[in-house]
């Protein structure tokens, strides 16, 4: 079963690459703009660290490491599960019907139905930052942690996007919340008060997608690795639950206004 899912991903990757090559110019423009976008954030932090040198034991190098994890995770989530941010749109455009008539797992299929070219820029940027911040022997762990992050943020996007099942038009909300996750992921967790830290490890799990992986890479602690693993599993399960419950509502037609 896992194999057939992987095979399907490969098929979609082929199609996505073919589409990207068909629109080479756009593909390059979008990938590069993402690289530029991330570079500007690094510029922001550079300015900040010029002024303040150290932020609760974090240095500029730690910040680069954070971005290495953050952008690469968003990158792989976006290239493989390109529809993760668009589930609300897929629902409101009635495109969900297409996936419903096909024999594959609806959530999985919907997610892989598209690949984001912006995300590809993230992948590249993340890798570049990783080569600056980490040593070659840290890379296997880096890839593993990024995979977990990618699952977390995809699950989050699914949960948030599934609001569309309940709210009708959740496009703006889900987009904002997803941007929120990304924004907060860009700050080291240590600067926050305990209350904030809790928020950032639960409601908006920004802590899990960037700070914790970075700290695990600089100083591995089994306890935190297991917590990260556990959280990944938890949010994954919640995402599936929320989506399928919403799907049942969709199929019972309570959302007529968005479908007809």
């Amino acid at each position: 079963m896992v194999v057939s899912h992987l095979k399907l991903i490969i098929e979609y990757m082929k199609i996505n690459i073919a589409t990207a090559m068909e629109y080479r110019f756009n593909f390059i423009v979008q990938s590069l703009s993402m690289v530029a976008n991330n570079a500007i954030w690094i510029l922001f932090w550079w300015i900040f660290f010029q002024k303040f040198n150290i932020v609760n034991t974090w240095t500029m190098n730690d910040m680069i490491g954070l971005y290495a994890v953050l952008t690469f995770s968003f990158g792989i989530a976006g290239t493989v599960f390109g529809n993760r941010r668009r589930i609300a749109e897929v629902i409101s455009e009635g495109r969900l019907d297409f996936f419903l008539t096909l024999p594959k797992n609806v959530l999985f299929h919907t997610l892989i139905g598209k690949s984001s070219w912006f995300a590809f820029g993230d992948v590249i940027f993340g890798l570049i930052m990783a080569t600056i911040a980490f040593q070659w022997w840290q890379f296997p762990l880096y890839f593993l942690l990024c995979t977990l992050s990618a699952i977390i943020l995809t699950s989050f996007a699914v949960i948030v996007s599934s609001l569309a099942f309940y709210m009708g038009d959740a496009r703006s909300t889900s987009r904002q919340l997803d941007i929120g996750l990304m924004s907060f992921g860009g700050y080291p967790l240590s600067i926050f008060s305990d209350t904030a830290k809790i928020l950032l490890m639960t409601v908006i799990p920004a802590g899990f997608i960037s700070t914790i992986p970075v700290e695990l890479l600089t100083q591995f602690q089994l306890k935190w690795f297991l917590i990260l693993l556990g959280f990944t599993l938890l949010i994954f399960v919640i995402a599936i639950f929320v989506f399928y419950r919403g799907l049942r509502k969709y199929e019972s037609g309570s959302m007529i206004t968005t479908r007809m």
Binding site: F44, I47, F48, Q50, N56, F118, M167, T173, S183, A196
Partner: protein, 262 residues
């Protein structure tokens, strides 16, 4: 004159937004959350000092509330206009280029007005509860309002100008992205330019973006009639420059669109 129709456009846009009420509210609440996070960041930085580059923590946070409110309220203008331009839809919509821009200006300002108020309200409440009030003289309310309106106008004008380049790049999302980030950093939305290394701060101050976020918000937290007059003069100056550019660029592009048939 036909200008009254733009008022009606504004009214309908206002009503339209109310239709997406939950979505709308959540968007504004979101900013409150960002302010909350930023408060945490700055409380850490202010742990061992009271003033940073002339800003107390109170001033700093209220500064950020103002910049966030201004910069985020218009929304995705570049994407909307850029997509319309690329698809050639506008060739059918309106005849004269400046009508098209005015139409969007009316829509955008109506939308921005609502969102600005809500964003500032929610961000302000969070700040009031956690940091405290800003010493603000009510006499300065109308001047600041004027400055904000000019800031939003300049913001819109720049976005309208950039939207045209969607034609060449065949993509509006990327440009929205880059413009947004440039304003975030060089416009001083995330960080007052005073914190920047001097050379970078001078660059920022000489660019139009700082007149959207940095200067208006700085005036807000530290009002001074002299600065006010200089600011609106410069804002108007930048607006006029970019309005002129926009008109020219749109005229040229419209010719191209009409020739190509959209």
């Amino acid at each position: 004159m036909g200008l009254i129709k733009y008022l009606h456009i504004g009214r309908i846009s206002f009503k339209n937004n109310l239709a997406y009420k939950t979505d709308f509210l959540v968007g504004s609440l979101f900013i409150a959350l960002i302010i909350f996070i930023l408060i945490n960041l700055w409380q850490t930085m202010y742990a061992d000092r009271a003033v940073i580059e002339g800003f107390t923590i109170t001033m700093m946070i209220w500064y950020l509330v103002m910049t966030e409110s201004i910069v985020t309220s218009p929304g995705r203008v570049i994407e909307q206009m850029g997509d319309e331009i690329r698809s050639g839809d506008i060739a059918q919509k309106l005849n004269k280029p400046y009508n098209y821009v005015l139409f969007h200006y009316a829509e955008s300002m109506a939308k921005s007005a609502q969102r600005f108020v809500l964003t500032f309200l929610f961000g302000g409440i969070v700040t009031l509860l956690l940091i405290g009030p800003l010493t603000f003289n009510l006499n300065h309310f109308f001047p600041i309002l004027l400055v904000v309106i000019l800031a939003l106008t300049l913001h819109f004008t720049l976005m309208a100008l950039i939207s045209v380049f969607a034609l060449w790049l065949e993509d509006s999302k990327s440009m929205h992205f880059i413009y947004q980030k440039v304003v975030f950093v060089l416009g001083g939305m995330l960080l007052p330019l005073d914190i920047f290394p001097d050379w970078l701060a001078s660059i920022g101050k000489s660019l139009p973006f700082s007149f959207i976020a940095y200067f208006p918000a700085k005036l807000f937290v530290g009002f001074n009639w002299n600065d006010f007059l200089i600011l609106i003069a410069k804002q108007i100056g930048w607006i006029l420059i970019f309005v002129a550019c926009t008109i020219i660029v749109y005229r040229i592009s419209f010719k191209r669109i009409s020739i190509n048939g959209g």
